[in-house]
């Protein structure tokens, strides 16, 4: 199925091109001083992950990743960054002593742990991944939909409730502020009228 170029398969090249890019984008996100740079680098990283989904035999998640994450969620992030006007620099004062070195140390430990877990769980082999065509028979979207609307139907409905609750929660948070501003404006107006009245 996979076109073989010389001795290496195409997905091998894709992995070794996109894996360094995704890690570099993540590290850049970590160190970027400006929040907008962080958001843009995160978009690069999400695109790389979408490509990995495609390589791993999931074209549906590839599309959803780009539409939902790189599209909707990151636009929301950029909107909020613009709304808050994050031009000020982040303070580099350490509130907790030695937090940063400790974080880096624990991070290195976590990576070592993951590598060990993969080593003993799946095994770090150079063996190729198993074929996926039998599972994706009739198209990835169709087989995914069959699974989603049969065994995972109840969780699927619950997520719809979750989305409605989240939307209502966000609206309530924004709405209460509008009411508060209106009340503040009205009380200021009343105060101004009261001030004007005693004067003949």
């Amino acid at each position: 199925m996979v076109p073989v170029i010389g001795a290496v398969a195409a997905d091998w090249i894709v992995f070794w091109v996109f894996a360094p890019v995704s890690v570099a984008a993540a590290v850049g996100m970590l160190f970027a001083r400006n929040a907008i740079h962080s958001a843009l680098l995160l978009i690069v990283n999400l695109f790389c992950l979408a490509v990995f989904f495609l390589v791993l035999g999931s074209p549906f998640l590839f599309a959803v990743q780009i539409i939902v994450y790189a599209g909707a969620i990151m636009v929301l992030f950029l909107f909020v960054i613009m709304l808050l006007g994050v031009t000020r620099e982040e303070s580099l004062v350490e509130r907790l002593k030695g937090q940063r070195p400790l974080a880096l140390l624990l991070g290195a430990g976590l990576i070592a742990e993951v590598v060990l877990a993969v080593r003993y769980g799946v095994g770090i082999s150079t063996k190729a991944a198993p074929g996926f065509d039998a599972v994706n028979k009739g198209g990835n979207v169709r087989s995914l939909a069959r699974l989603l609307f049969n065994s995972y139907f109840f969780p699927f409905e619950v997520t719809s409730v979750l989305l409605i609750v989240a939307a209502v929660a966000a609206m309530v948070m924004a709405g209460r502020r509008a009411v508060a501003i209106e009340e503040a404006g009205r009380s200021a107006q009343e105060a101004a009228e009261r001030e004007r009245e005693p004067v003949p």
């Binding site: 996979v2 970590l30 998640l61 992030f77 993951v114 190729a128 599972v135 699974l147």
Partner: protein, 101 residues
């Protein structure tokens, strides 16, 4: 496909760790939030990789659900950050210390 699944799993672990370090080190609430997104995505990658490894589509369904939950989480979280900014004029997590002892 010639790439072993373990490579994807290790990449996912590296990305998750970078997200964790971001949450621990950064002070800007928005960047902390982006790091959380990075962590969620790293776990999605490992779910899809495991789905490939075990030849089951359940991992992909789970990744799909985690995307939905992430969308809901972003909506509520950004609303909270905006509310905090309106109160304190700052998106720095050190300024939100009302509940700290």
């Amino acid at each position: 496909m010639r790439t072993p699944i373990s490579y994807f799993l290790i990449l996912s672990g590296v990305l998750f760790t970078i997200g964790t370090i971001g949450v621990l080190v950064r002070r800007n609430a928005l960047v902390i939030f982006m790091s959380v997104e990075l962590q969620l995505n790293a776990v999605n990658l490992s779910l899809v990789a495991f789905s490939r490894q075990f030849k089951e589509l359940d991992g992909q369904v789970l990744a799909f659900f985690s995307m939905v939950v992430a969308a809901a989480e972003v909506v509520v979280g950004l609303a909270i950050i905006v509310a905090m900014f309106n109160r304190r004029r700052s998106a720095n997590v050190d300024d939100a210390n009302l509940l700290k002892w």
